[in-house]
Structures are given as structure tokens and as C-alpha cells.
């Protein structure tokens, strides 16, 4: 019988919880993505917000054009060497805490394009939390990745990540 049960009996109007859990619950339930649509995957990312797949069920439908308002960057598509510095700058502009989903084979590994023009994996320039395979992945895959990310956020501490 923990302290929270004692409080719950004595003061039924009050909910007690750990600060970590409360903050993480708030964070995971409204992950606002930065619109980082690059290529084919961006179209499937848009499809994820449509009526059939309805990303809004997971609190992530608010795509922000400004990185300052975003929590998670969904890198959807191939990252060229010309785009890489832009991507890094946008990542740097996002406030902490921030997460990155690498959507699709190209963003994760370069995909079928093993050549001079593409960055062979976006993890070379930003830390990636969840990788999604597929070329492009189905919208369901993106939903799954988001749920995996939410689980990870729940398990995190609230101090800045190392």
C-alpha cells in the first residue's frame, strides 16, 4: 500500500502521479510533427492525415510549418546532399525535447539509390528515434512508428536527452 493509495482514499478528488509520467503523458499525446515532406513518402504522410487513416486519433495531426512549434520531425523521403544542411538547420531550430522519425528506405539508408547524390541515411546528420522500412511505407506503418515513439517517450526521463 503506497502513499498514493493513502492520498487517494483521504482525498478522492486528487490524482497523484510521478512528474515524469505526467509530463511524458502530455508530451506523447500531442506530438506535433514538422512538415518535412521531401519526396514520395511525403505523399503517404499526407495520406496518413486523411479521413481513412486519421492521424488525429494519435494527437499528431497538427503539422507545423515552423520548426519552432514542432516536436517530431518526420523525414519523409530521400535527403540529397544539397538538402542535408537545410535539414540539419531545421532540426537545430526545433526546441527540445525533439524526436526524429526516418520514414522510408531512402531516409533510413539511401534506399535503392546508392549513389553520389543522396545522403545514405539521415542518421548521418540527425539522431533518429524510429526508422520505418518501406518504399514508401504504408500510412499504417507511419501510425505504428508514431505509436512506438509514444511508447519510448513514456519510458523517458524528463531531463534533456544526452
Amino acid at each position: 500500500m503506497g502513499l498514493d493509495n493513502v492520498i487517494a482514499e483521504a482525498l478522492p478528488d486528487i490524482i497523484t502521479t510521478r512528474l515524469d509520467s505526467l509530463v511524458n503523458w502530455a508530451r506523447k499525446s500531442s506530438l506535433w510533427p514538422a512538415t518535412f515532406g521531401l519526396a514520395c513518402c511525403a505523399i503517404e504522410m499526407m495520406a496518413t492525415t486523411d479521413a481513412r487513416h486519421d492521424l488525429a486519433r494519435f494527437g499528431s495531426e497538427v503539422f507545423r510549418a515552423s520548426p519552432r512549434q514542432a516536436d517530431v520531425m518526420i523525414v519523409s523521403g530521400r535527403v540529397s546532399r544539397k538538402m542535408a544542411p537545410v535539414l540539419r538547420r531545421i532540426y537545430d531550430q526545433m526546441p527540445e525535447p525533439k524526436w526524429v522519425i526516418s520514414m522510408g528506405a531512402c531516409a533510413s539508408t539511401g534506399g535503392v539509390f546508392n549513389n553520389y547524390a543522396l545522403l545514405q541515411g539521415v542518421d548521418k546528420i540527425v539522431p533518429v528515434d524510429v526508422y520505418i522500412p518501406g518504399c514508401p511505407p504504408r500510412p499504417e506503418d507511419l501510425l505504428n512508428a508514431l505509436m512506438i515513439l509514444q511508447e519510448r517517450i513514456k519510458a523517458q526521463g524528463i531531463t534533456p536527452r544526452q
Binding site: V112, F113, N115
Partner: protein
């Protein structure tokens, strides 16, 4: 210019400190490459006089994927996979351009059923591509409902893609020598239902936009491109037809048996963003007409050419025929060789002339594959269209130019 002057010196930055008509200095601003209304990773450097556009310079290459280089490192049949990914809103049409070009070099012609299936996939893709355009352009001009409506139908088309090819977007369905597999009965059923339903859906879109006063005032008279300019600047597709020029490769230089279908070329004399909108709406209706004819008249027969040097033998033969095993082995270890020469084939995609120029040196890999992309050329009149318009109108102009940046940068 002497070729030592500015060669390799980077983007020519526009002049500053110049006086505008309203007494202030011209302001050079940077749009993109990561901007929500540029349909991808387009970057624009714009000189503004107050809110009016005085100069505009697109900077592209932010999605340069090296597709043409990659194609040279792949075998002829493997290149199909990368063709899917340059204009990622119309993969089967890209496949078709490449397949037709390779077939032209090989000197083979696909069976009628394959041609009909290619037409069906092309038209479905055209509708899907226009739907993405309509949804995103709608949302940029304030009609957020459009995205929901358009993606609803687009998902139906993607379901059909999945049924026929096993994949939602990048189907790689059309290949040199025919198509990947025959249409399943379920696909034909789905197609039939879709054709019946689609005209009423287009009515729905029109009810939302065609007479919508906000949409009309943001598009009518905006981004004018006179017919003569459009021709000179090389614009194709709805950009050209929206300026009243009835040029549609399906009619003027037919391929895959398009001459056998009865459809109208959608044109509009308005020459502005609204005209291009009307053209695309009409094209969706015409595409449904073509689909109906193609489905009703779908011929029977094989869907691939009967040439073991190009396409692998059927699975059953492998168990009984040594020759089949040899062909199979050769095709999957080395691939086929294409006679030396070059060929260019142009097809009409949702954006305009989507061509493929292939050069063979007689080996099992292409010497050169060049994609003549409609978006790359259609992006060049952007300055002409945006000049002296408000900066907010650029959203409508970029939107109705309907460029896919993957197609521009390749």
C-alpha cells in the same frame, strides 16, 4: 558572357538597393526550400516591391536523386524501379515511357491486352495525380475539405494499384515487354465500381470549388500565361491546355492505342490559374470515359510478349524445359541486351510531356537514360506568370503549375 566569368560561381544573387515604384527599396526574400506551400522542396528567390513580385528565380536541385546515373548502373529491367520514383505522383506513366522506349529499341510490340491494361493504369494514375494536386492546392487556397475528399478517392485508386501489382504507390507494373501480371477479377470489379462512382465525386469537388467566390477570386486572372508564350516556353500538359492550345500527346502522337479511345482534349481559353483548374477537372472526367471504354473493350490474350530473351519463362516451364532454365538463369544473372541505338518516346502524364530518351551501347546496361520531365520545363515560365502579382498569389501559381520536385530534380 565569357564562359570564364560566372561559370560555377553559384547562384546569381539578384540586385539589392534598387528603388521600387512605391518609394521603398526592393526586398529580396527567400522562399523554401522547406516551405509548406511550394509543393515539395522548391526554393525561390524573390525580389519584392512592397508586396508585388518584381523578379523571381527558382533554385532547384534539393531533391536531386541521381536517378539518371543510377539507371546507368542498373540492368535494363532493373531501371523500371527507379523510373517509378522520379515523378512520384505518376509512377505507371513513367514506367510506360521507359518501357515504350526500350521496346522501340528492341523492336517489339506488346499484345493488345497489355496495351489496354497500360492505358487503364495510366488513366487511373492521371486521376490520382490530379487528385493530389486538387487536394493540396485546395488546402493552400483555404479549402481544407478538398484534401479529405480527394485523398478518399485517391486511396481507392491506391487499393486498385495494390490489387493489381501488390504495391500502393510505386507499382513498377508496366515493364519492357508487357506488364507485371494480368489483372485479377477483383481488380476489374473494383475498377468497375470506381468508374461508376467517380463522376459524382468530381461533381462534389466542383460543388466545393468551381463557383466558390474565394477560390475564384484567388485564381481568376492570376498567373496568366498567353498561348503563344506557353508554346515558346515549352510548357506542356494542363499548363499548355489551360492556355487554350489543344495539344495532348494522347491525341496528337498516340501511343499504346490511345487513338482507339473516344475522348476530348480538355482546354480552357482563360490562360490563368482558374483555367488550369478547369482543365484538370475536365481531364478527370475524360479519364473516367477512357477507363470505361478500356474496361468494356478489354481484349483477351497474353499480357506479355512471347520472347524468352526479354522476359522470363512461366514458372511451369522451368520444371520441364532445360532451355527455360537457361533463359531464366541468363535473365536473372545478366539480363538482356538491347541493340545499340537511341530512341525517344513521349507520353502524356498528369503534368505534361513525360519523355524517356534511352541510348544503348549494345550491352546489358543502358548507356544513358534521360527523363524529359514535364515539371522541369513547366517550372521555367514561373517568373513570367508571377510577375507583378502579389506574393500571396504565388501560392496559387506554384500550385496550378503542379510541379513535382522529384520530377524536376530527378
Amino acid at each position: 558572357m565569357s564562359d570564364t566569368g560566372t561559370v560555377g560561381q553559384g547562384i546569381t544573387v539578384t540586385k539589392t538597393g534598387e528603388q521600387g515604384a512605391f518609394g521603398g527599396e526592393l526586398l529580396t526574400i527567400n522562399f523554401g526550400p522547406h516551405h509548406p506551400s511550394t509543393h515539395g522542396v522548391l526554393r525561390l528567390i524573390v525580389d519584392l516591391d512592397g508586396e508585388q513580385v518584381r523578379r523571381l528565380k527558382p533554385v532547384i536541385g534539393y531533391l536531386h536523386t541521381g536517378i539518371e546515373k543510377q539507371a546507368e548502373a542498373l540492368r535494363w529491367q532493373q531501371v523500371v524501379v527507379v523510373t517509378d520514383r522520379h515523378d512520384y505522383l505518376s509512377p505507371p506513366i513513367n514506367n510506360l515511357a521507359y518501357a515504350l522506349a526500350v521496346e522501340k529499341l528492341l523492336g517489339v510490340e506488346v499484345p493488345p491486352r497489355a496495351s489496354a491494361l497500360r492505358v487503364i493504369m495510366s488513366e487511373l494514375t492521371r486521376i490520382a495525380s490530379h487528385l493530389v494536386w486538387l487536394g493540396t492546392s485546395g488546402i493552400e487556397l483555404g479549402a481544407s475539405t478538398m484534401l479529405m475528399y480527394c485523398f478518399r478517392e485517391r486511396d481507392t485508386i491506391l487499393d486498385m494499384n495494390e490489387e493489381i501489382s501488390g504495391f500502393r504507390m510505386h507499382t513498377s507494373y508496366i515493364r519492357p515487354g508487357g506488364v507485371m501480371a494480368d489483372a485479377t477479377p477483383r481488380f476489374l470489379e473494383m475498377l468497375d465500381r470506381f468508374i461508376d462512382k467517380m463522376p459524382s465525386n468530381v461533381d462534389e469537388y466542383e460543388a466545393l470549388l468551381t463557383m466558390n467566390p474565394i477560390f475564384r477570386s484567388r485564381t481568376i486572372g492570376i498567373g496568366r500565361l498567353p498561348a503563344e508564350d506557353a508554346k515558346v516556353l515549352g510548357a506542356t500538359g494542363p499548363m499548355l491546355r489551360g492556355s487554350g492550345v489543344a495539344w495532348d500527346l494522347r491525341k496528337t502522337m498516340p501511343y499504346s492505342g490511345y487513338e482507339k479511345y473516344d475522348f476530348e482534349v480538355a482546354t480552357s481559353d482563360l490562360c490563368d490559374c482558374y483555367g488550369r483548374y478547369l482543365v484538370r477537372i475536365k481531364e478527370m472526367r475524360e479519364a473516367v470515359k477512357i477507363l470505361r471504354q478500356a474496361l468494356d473493350r478489354l481484349p483477351d490474350g497474353p499480357v506479355n510478349i512471347d520472347d524468352r530473351k526479354v522476359l522470363p519463362p512461366p514458372r511451369e516451364e522451368l520444371e520441364t524445359s532445360m532451355e527455360a532454365v537457361i533463359h531464366h538463369f541468363k535473365l536473372f544473372t545478366e539480363g538482356y541486351s538491347v541493340p545499340a541505338g537511341d530512341a525517344y518516346v513521349a507520353v502524356e502524364s498528369g503534368r505534361g510531356e513525360n519523355g524517356c530518351y534511352v541510348v544503348s551501347d549494345g550491352t546489358h546496361k543502358p548507356r544513358r537514360v534521360k527523363f524529359r520531365s514535364a515539371s522541369f520545363v513547366n517550372l521555367q515560365p514561373l517568373e513570367r506568370m508571377a510577375l507583378n502579382h502579389m506574393v500571396a498569389d504565388m501560392v496559387a501559381i506554384i500550385g496550378t503549375a503542379d510541379t513535382v520536385l522529384g520530377d524536376v530534380d530527378r
